[in-house]
C-alpha cells in the first residue's frame, strides 16, 4: 500500500480517535485501526494520536514498536506472513521463507519488493498448526506448503 499523504493521515487518525471517544486506554485499538486503514502507521497519524489522546509521542512510539502488529514503514500491497511457530518450524518453515524471498528476488534483508507489491514478514504462531507450514497472504490462509508450490501460490496475487 502506498505512502499516505499528511492530511489524509491526520484526518484518518482523528476519525478513529473520535470513534473510541478520546480515551487514553484506547491507544492500542486506535493504532490497530489506523494500521488496518493505511497498511502502516504514518508518522503524521502517530503525532495526531499523541496530541488527541494527550500521550507523549515517545510513549506512543514505545507502544508502536513494542507490539508486532504495527509497522512504521509502508508495506507492500500484499502482506505475506510466514508462520514461524513450532509446528511450522518442525515442518520446514525456514525453507518456505527462503523460497519466497528467492521467488520475489528479495536480497540483503529487504522485506518489501521494489514495486511495493509484496512484503514478507516472519510472524508468530497463527494457530493453524495442524496444516503446517502455513503462510497468510492478506486474509487468505495457505497451508501444507512446500517450496515448489510457492510460485503457483504467489502467481494468484501478481
Amino acid at each position: 500500500m502506498p505512502v499516505v499523504e499528511e492530511d489524509r493521515a491526520v484526518q484518518g487518525a482523528d476519525a478513529v480517535v473520535d470513534g473510541y471517544g478520546v480515551r487514553r486506554d484506547s491507544l492500542i485499538h486506535v493504532l490497530q485501526d489506523v494500521q488496518q486503514e493505511f497498511g502502516y502507521l504514518p508518522r503524521a497519524s502517530v503525532r495526531r494520536v499523541s496530541e488527541r489522546l494527550r500521550v507523549p509521542l515517545a510513549e506512543v512510539l514505545r507502544v508502536a514498536t513494542f507490539y508486532s502488529a504495527f509497522s512504521l514503514e509502508p508495506q507492500g500491497e500484499h502482506l505475506i506472513c510466514v508462520c514461524m511457530g513450532t509446528a511450522c518450524h518442525v515442518r520446514g518453515a525456514p525453507r518456505i521463507v527462503s523460497a519466497i524471498r528467492r521467488h520475489l528476488r528479495l536480497k540483503d534483508g529487504r522485506r518489501t519488493t521494489e514495486d511495493m507489491k509484496f512484503t514478507v514478514k516472519a510472524v508468530r504462531c497463527l494457530g493453524c498448526c495442524a496444516l503446517a507450514p502455513v503462510i497468510t497472504i492478506g486474509q487468505d490462509v495457505h497451508g501444507q506448503l512446500t517450496p515448489d508450490r510457492i510460485a503457483r501460490v504467489l502467481r494468484n496475487y501478481e
Binding site: G85, T86, A87
Partner: protein, 639 residues
Amino acid sequence: MAIATSPRIESRQALRELADALKCRAGSKPVVSVCRGTGCTASGSGRTYEALRQAAAELGMHEQVEILGTGCHGLCELGPLVVIRPRGVFYHRVKPEDAREILDKTVGSGELIERLLYKVDGDAIVHEHDIPFYKKQMRIALRLNGLMDPMSIDDYVREGGYQSLAKVLLDYAPEQVIQEISASGLRGRGGGGFPTGRKWASCRKAHGDVKYVLCNGDEGDPGAFMDRSIMEANPHGVLEGMIIGSYAIGAGHGVIYVRHEYPLAVRTLRRAIEQAREVGLLGEDILGSGHCFDIAIARGGGAFVCGESTALMASVEGRVGEPRAKHIHTVESGLWGKPSCLNNVETWANIPVIIERGADWFASIGTEKSKGTKVFSLVGKVKNTGLVEVPMGITLREIIYGIGGGILGDKAFKAVQTGGPSGGCIPAQYLDMPVDFDELTKVGSMMGSGGMIVMDEDSCMVDVARYFLDFLRGESCGKCTPCREGNQRMYEILDRICEGRGAEDDLQLLADIADTVRTTSLCQLGKTAPNPVLSTLGYFRDEYLAHIRDKRCPAGVCRALIRFTIAPDVCTCCGRCARECPVQCIAGKTGKAPAKARKDARTGKKKGRVGEPFRIDQDRCVKCGTCLDVCPAGAVRRA
C-alpha cells in the same frame, strides 16, 4: 431464521421453553455439518459449504436438510470435513464437486461414497465416533464444536446452553458456586494449573466493590490453537462460564483479551456478546436474578508476553505489556488496580459443564491431582494432526499413536515438545508416562497451554533449543536484565553451536546462564525460558557433543554442518541449481545427461548436446540449500 429475536429471556422457564421450541423445530431433519474452522477454511471448506447450499437449492432439498457451517471439528489434517448427522457419516477432503453427490446419495438414499470415507489400513470407517482419532477422546470443552453454528445463540440454547447459568443464578449462593468449582478439582488450563476454585475464593474475599473477570485468549504458545477453536466454535460457552464466574466473585465487568492474530475469534465473540445482550443474558438483572454483568473485548497487539496476567492487564489499559513483580496478586489488585480474576478460555469453557453435571462427575475423570480433561493441539511429525481432548492420565503413547496414528512416514519417534517455550522435550523412554500437570513437570517439561509437538529422527534438538531461544529473546519485554540479556546470550551460544563454532565449555556456560535466568527473572517468561535448553541438554547431550566435537548435525538439519553434493548419475544436467545458486558455486554443462545420451545413441537418436553432471564447489558453498529445493530430479544429497 431465529425464533429468539428481540424478546428478552426473563426467566429460567422462558429459557427452557425456548430450548424446547428450538429442538422441536429442528426435529429429526438431517444435518450436513461442514467444518468452517480456520484449518478447514484454509483447505477450501468455504467453497464446499457454498456448493452444498447451492446443490440443496437446485435439488429442491433445502427444506428437508440443513447445511450447517460449524467451528473446528478437530481433525484438521483431513479437511474439509463433513459429517452427516444424526447418522454420523464422516467424509474427509470433501471438494465442492462432491456436494451434489453427497446430497443425492448419502442424504437422499443413505448410500455411502467410498472415496470420501476415511480409511485405516485400507478399511473404511463410516461413522465419526468409530474413527480412532475421535473414539479415544472425551470431549467436554470441545463438546459442541461440530454441532452448532457459532454465530447462532439459538443453536447454543437448543443444545442446553445457559441452563447452567440459570441454575447458578437462581439456585446457588455465590459461595456455593465457588465450593462446587473447588470440589471439582478444576485447575487452570492456560499453563499455570492453579486451582480455579481457590482463585475465585481469593478474588471474592478481596476488598472493593468494583471487580473484574477476565478471559485470557492470548494463546501465544507457538503450536497451540485450542483456545482459538473454542472461541471460534463455541463463543457462548466461554460467555456462560464468565457470567457464572462473575456471579461467584461479585464482578460487574468482564474483558475477553483476544490476540491480534485471531480476527475470526474476535468477530465470533463480538457477535455472541451482541446476541447475549439482545436477549438479556448480559446486562442488567440477568434472568431476573438481580445480577448485572457485561463484557468487552480487548484485542492484543502482537506480543507473547501479554499472555502473562499483569502484562495482559497493562495491554488492556493501553500500555506496553510489561509484567510487574507479583508481590500483590492480581486477584487483589489487577485491572485498573481492582481485584481481577483472570482465567484461560478452556477453563471458562469447562465451567457450564461442571455446573450441569456436578463436581463429583468432573472429579471422577483424570488423576488424583489433575481432574477432568485437557485439550491438546497434536501437531508436528504425526499422521493425524489436530485438536484432541482426553482425560488427564492418558499416556503419551495413546495420544501420539492411538489417536495421532503414529509418526509421519513411519519414521522413528524422537521427542515430544510440550508446554511451549516454557516447556521441554520428552524422549521415547517416557512414552508410557501418564499425562497430567505433575507428571509432566517431573520429567522436565510442563503441561502449558496444551501444545504437543511431535518430533522425529529428522529433528535436531539443538536447533529446537535455538528456535525457542530465538523466539524468547524477541518476545522478552526487556524490563529485567536476566531475561533480556540472558536469553540473548543463550541464543548466541546455541547459534554458534549450530554453526559449527561451539566449544566444550559452552555447555557449562549455558547451564550457568540458565540457572541465573531461572532464579532471577521477574516473570514466568524469563523464569521458564531455560527449560527448552535444559531439557534438551539433559536428554540429548550426545547431539550437542556431536555438533561441538565432530562438527556434525546427526539429524541433518543445521545447514552449516551438512554437505550438499549432487549425485552424478541422477543429475539431468538441466542447470537449474547453477542458475539459482546465490554464490554461483555450481558448475557443469547443460544438455542431455550422459546416461541418457548413451541410451539414445544406441537407439539411433544422436541429436542434442551431451551435458556434464553439475558439481558443487564445497569451498565456496554457503549451505543455503537452494539447490536441494529447486532440483527437479532429486539429485542433491544432504549429508
